[in-house]
C-alpha cells in the first residue's frame, strides 16, 4: 500500500498575471553598500555568498556608498549618462521606424541600458564581447557611429552587413563586438573559446560572454561553464536577468536554483549578482571580474539583476502575460533616473542641464537617422545588391554558386 499521494508535475508560475497587482516582495534587495568587495584573487569557495546577494552602490538618496563605490570621475559618469540616454533615444526612434514600416523588426533596451553601457567602459581595446541582441550599449559606449547601426537596421545600401542579417544583429570586430547570432547561447561557449585562444597565444586580451536569463537553460550555457572552469579561461560570463524570456518568467529557466549566479558555484567559478540598474555597481563588478580574467585568475560569472521594461521585440505584446504596471513596481528603479540623481547629488548635474542634454541627444539621433535614410530603408531607396546575396558564403566563390548567380543574371 502506498501511503502518500500520487505524483504531480510542478510547473512554476510567476507571482502575478495580467489583471493582478505587481508584486516583487519576494525579490530580496540588500542595502546599497552592504556587500563586501573581496580581493580579486579571493578563493571562490570563500565568496559563495555573492551569488545570493546583490551588489549595489547607489542608495535611495542618490549617494554612492560602500566598498564598490568611488571608481568613476564626474566626467566618466556624465559620459555614462549620455550613453544611456543616447541608447534610449536611439531605441525610441528605431521603434518608431519599425512601426512606420522602415524596417522589419526591432529590439529595445528600456530599463537595461546600464548593463551594456557600464560594462563596456571597464574593458580595454582588443577585448572581445560575444553579445546577444540586447547589448547595443557596448557599441554606443564605444562611440560606434549611430548612423552605421541604423544602416544595419534598415538593411540599406550602406549596411555594413550587406543586408544579410536581421536588424540589430550587428558585428564590429574593431569595437570588440562579435557578430550577433539570432540563435541563443551559442555565443557563450564561443566567448570561452576566444578566451582560450588568447591564453594559448599568451595574449593580454580577454573575452566577454553575454546571455539572457532564459537562454541559460540551453546546453551551450553548460558547455561554456564546463570549458571555462576546466581551462580557467580569461572570460567574464554575463547573465542579464531581465526577468522575462519573451513571455516566460525567469522561474522557468531558473528552476529550483536560488539564483542564476549560483549556477557558477558548482563549477568553482566565482559568481556575483549585481544591481543591473545601477551604472556604478555594474561598472565596479565588471572591473573586478575583468581584472581577475586579465591576471589569469580565470572566469567570473555575473548575474545582472534588471527588468525588461519594454516588449521582447516589436513582435511581442507583454500585456498578454504580465501586469501592465509591473515595470513601475520594479524595485531597482530606472538606471538613467538613478544616475541622473546621483550626478545632481554630486553637484555635477542639474534638471536644466539634463533636459538640455535630452534635447541635444535627440537631435543627434534624428540627424543620424536622416543621414541613414538617405541611403535607404528596408523597402525604399538604396538597397544592397542581389549580387551581395551570393558573395561571402565562402572566401572564394565555388562553381555551384557561380552557376546560381549566373542563373539570376547578376
Amino acid at each position: 500500500m502506498i501511503d502518500h499521494a500520487p505524483l504531480t508535475l510542478h510547473v512554476p508560475e510567476p507571482a502575478v498575471r495580467p489583471g493582478g497587482t505587481p508584486d516583487f516582495s519576494s525579490v530580496r534587495i540588500p542595502k546599497a553598500g552592504s556587500v563586501a568587495r573581496p580581493p580579486v584573487d579571493a578563493d571562490p569557495e570563500s565568496i559563495r555568498d555573492l551569488a545570493y546577494s546583490i551588489i549595489r552602490v547607489l542608495n535611495r538618496d542618490g549617494e554612492a556608498v560602500g566598498p564598490w563605490a568611488n571608481l568613476l570621475s564626474d566626467s566618466q559618469l556624465l559620459d555614462g549618462l549620455r550613453h544611456m540616454m543616447t541608447l534610449r533615444a536611439f531605441d525610441a526612434r528605431m521603434l518608431m521606424s519599425q512601426r512606420q514600416g522602415k524596417t522589419s523588426f526591432y529590439m529595445q533596451h528600456m530599463g537595461e541600458e546600464a548593463v551594456s553601457c557600464a560594462f563596456r567602459k571597464a574593458l580595454s581595446p582588443g577585448d572581445m564581447n560575444f553579445p546577444t541582441y540586447r547589448q547595443a550599449g557596448l557599441l554606443i559606449a564605444d562611440d560606434y557611429p549611430l548612423v552605421d547601426m541604423m544602416n544595419q537596421i534598415y538593411s540599406n545600401e550602406r549596411d555594413p552587413l550587406k543586408g544579410r542579417q536581421m536588424p540589430v544583429l550587428y558585428s564590429s570586430r574593431k569595437n570588440g563586438f562579435f557578430s550577433v547570432s539570432g540563435n541563443l547561447a551559442t555565443q557563450y561557449i564561443q566567448a570561452v573559446g576566444w578566451a582560450m585562444a588568447s591564453a594559448i597565444k599568451n595574449d593580454t586580451r580577454i573575452a566577454v560572454g553575454w546571455i539572457g536569463d532564459g537562454a541559460t537553460a540551453e546546453s551551450d550555457f553548460h558547455a561554456a561553464l564546463v570549458f571555462a572552469s576546466t581551462y580557467k579561461a580569461p572570460v567574464v560570463l554575463n547573465i542579464v536577468n531581465n526577468q522575462w524570456a519573451i513571455s516566460t518568467f525567469q522561474g522557468i529557466a531558473r528552476g529550483g536554483s536560488g539564483t542564476f549566479a549560483a549556477r557558477g558555484l558548482g563549477f568553482g567559478i566565482p559568481a556575483l549578482r549585481v544591481d543591473g540598474n545601477d551604472y556604478l555597481a555594474v561598472y565596479a563588478v565588471a572591473r573586478w571580474a575583468i581584472e581577475r580574467a586579465r591576471r589569469n585568475l580565470g572566469p567570473t560569472l555575473i548575474e545582472h539583476v534588471t527588468y525588461r521594461v519594454g516588449a521582447h521585440s516589436t513582435s511581442d505584446d507583454p500585456a498578454a502575460y504580465r501586469p501592465k504596471a509591473e515595470s513601475d513596481a520594479w524595485p531597482l528603479g530606472d538606471p538613467i533616473i538613478r544616475l541622473k540623481k546621483h550626478l545632481i547629488v554630486r553637484g555635477a548635474w542639474s534638471e536644466e542641464r539634463h533636459n538640455q542634454a535630452e534635447a541635444e541627444i535627440l537631435d543627434t539621433v534624428i540627424a543620424a537617422q536622416k543621414e541613414a535614410e538617405q541611403h535607404g530603408t528596408l523597402h525604399a531607396g538604396g538597397q544592397p545588391s542581389v549580387r551581395d546575396m551570393f558573395e561571402g558564403v565562402y572566401e572564394q566563390m565555388p562553381p555551384h554558386l557561380h552557376r546560381q548567380r549566373h542563373e539570376v543574371g547578376v
Binding site: M128, F130, P160, L161, K162, R164, Q165, L169, S171, S172, R173, F178, S179, S181, N183, T186, Y188, I189, Q190, A191, V192, G193, W194, A195, M196, A197, S198, I200, K201, A207, S219, D220, H222, A223, A224, V226, F227, T230, G392, V393, Y394, E395, P398, P399, H400
Partner: protein
C-alpha cells in the same frame, strides 16, 4: 616513398601543419595525452605541448563552439569528434554558427576550422559508431565537406582543409584507416603498405578541395563513389568485368561536376554508390546533377546503390552495407538495360 596507413597519414598532416603554423591547435575527446581512440593525434601533445594539443570535456557543442571562438580569434583549430555519430550535439554550432559567420558578418569574422570525424561502418559499431552523415553537411551553405579514400589523399586533403579560410568537415572512413577495404569482410585485410596510394610523401603537399580523381578509366559506365565505396567499386568492376570508369569524388562540396559530367557524357551510364541511407542522401544530389547536365547522353536511368533507410544495424551489418556483390549486380543490370 614512405608507406603510411590512413591514420598515420592524417597524423602526419596535423604534424606538418602544427610545425608550420603556430596557430594550428588540435583538441577533442581523448585527443591529448592518449592520442585519440583511433590514435590520430598520438604524440602531438608530447611534441607540441598542452597548449597546442589537449583533451576536451565530453561535449561536442563545447568542442565545436570553443573552436569557433578560437577561429574567430585567429587560430586554426583542427578538432576531432570521436565518431561522426556523436556530432549531433555540436550540429547547431556547425550549421548556425561556423557555416554562416563569414556571411552574416560580411567577412568581419571568419571561421577557418576543420572538424575531423571518423565515419562509416564495417566495424561492428552498430547504430552509434557507423553512420555516414555527409548529406547533413552538404546541405548547409557555407560548409565544405571532404571524404578521402586513401592515405595519400587524406594527408593532402587534410592539409588543404587546415589551410582553407572556411570551415571544413573532414569525414574519415574509419574502415579505411588500416587498409583499402573493398567490402569483402570475410577475406584477410590488405594493408595500405601493399597499395600504391599508401605511398605518402613526407612534408607538406596539398590536394586541392573540389577536384575529383579518376581511379579507373572505363568506357561502359561511370561509377560515382567516395570514401570506402571507391574500393568497393574497384572490386565490383574487376569481379563483374564491366568496363567501369570509377570517379572518387574526394570533395562533395565543392563538387567537381566537370569531371563527373565529362565521364557520364562519355559512358552514357551512371551508378552512384554510398554507404549512407538512400532517401535524401548525397546520391540524390548527384543523380539530379547528372540528369541536369548529361540528360541527352544518358542511355539508361541512373541507379543508386546505398545503405538501406534503416538505422545502421549491428548483426545485419553486411546486409546493410552496399558491398561488391550488390554493387556488382547494379553494374550488370545497368549494362543489360
Amino acid at each position: 616513398m614512405p608507406r603510411r596507413t590512413m591514420i598515420e597519414a592524417i597524423r602526419d598532416a596535423m604534424d606538418v601543419m602544427m610545425a608550420r603554423d603556430a596557430n594550428v591547435v588540435v583538441f577533442g575527446e581523448d585527443v591529448g595525452y592518449f592520442g585519440g581512440v583511433f590514435r590520430a593525434t598520438q604524440g602531438l601533445q608530447a611534441k607540441y605541448g598542452h597548449n597546442r594539443c589537449f583533451d576536451a570535456p565530453i561535449n561536442e557543442s563545447g568542442i565545436v563552439g570553443a573552436a569557433i571562438g578560437m577561429a574567430a580569434y585567429g587560430l586554426r583549430p583542427c578538432v576531432e569528434i570521436q565518431f561522426a555519430d556523436y556530432m549531433y550535439p555540436g550540429y547547431d554550432q556547425i550549421v548556425s554558427e561556423a557555416a554562416r559567420l563569414r556571411y552574416r558578418s560580411n567577412g568581419d569574422f571568419t571561421c577557418p576550422l576543420v572538424i575531423r570525424m571518423p565515419t562509416g561502418g564495417g566495424i561492428s559499431g552498430g547504430e552509434t559508431h557507423s553512420q555516414s552523415p555527409e548529406a547533413l553537411f552538404t546541405h548547409v551553405a557555407g560548409l565544405k565537406t571532404v571524404v578521402p579514400s586513401s592515405p595519400r589523399d587524406a594527408k593532402g586533403l587534410l592539409i588543404s582543409a587546415i589551410e582553407d579560410p572556411d570551415p571544413v568537415i573532414f569525414l574519415e572512413p574509419k574502415r579505411l584507416y588500416n587498409g583499402p577495404f573493398d567490402g569483402h569482410h570475410d577475406r584477410p585485410m590488405t594493408p595500405w603498405s601493399k597499395h600504391h596510394l599508401g605511398e605518402v610523401p613526407d612534408g607538406h603537399y596539398t590536394i586541392p578541395l573540389g577536384q575529383a580523381a579518376i581511379r579507373r578509366e572505363g568506357n561502359a559506365l561511370t561509377v560515382l563513389a567516395y570514401g570506402t565505396m571507391v574500393h568497393v567499386a574497384m572490386a565490383a568492376a574487376v569481379e563483374t568485368g564491366v568496363d567501369a570508369e570509377i570517379i572518387d569524388l574526394r570533395t562533395l562540396v565543392p563538387l567537381d561536376l566537370e569531371t563527373i559530367a565529362a565521364s557520364v557524357r562519355k559512358t552514357g551510364r551512371c551508378v552512384i554508390v554510398h554507404e549512407a541511407t538512400l532517401t535524401s542522401g548525397f546520391g540524390a544530389e548527384l543523380s539530379a546533377l547528372v540528369q541536369e547536365t548529361c540528360f541527352y547522353h544518358l542511355e539508361v536511368p541512373i541507379k543508386r546503390v546505398t545503405g538501406w533507410d534503416t538505422p545502421y544495424p549491428h548483426a545485419q551489418e553486411w546486409d546493410y552495407f552496399p558491398g561488391p556483390a550488390r554493387l556488382g549486380r547494379a553494374l550488370l543490370e545497368t549494362m543489360e538495360q
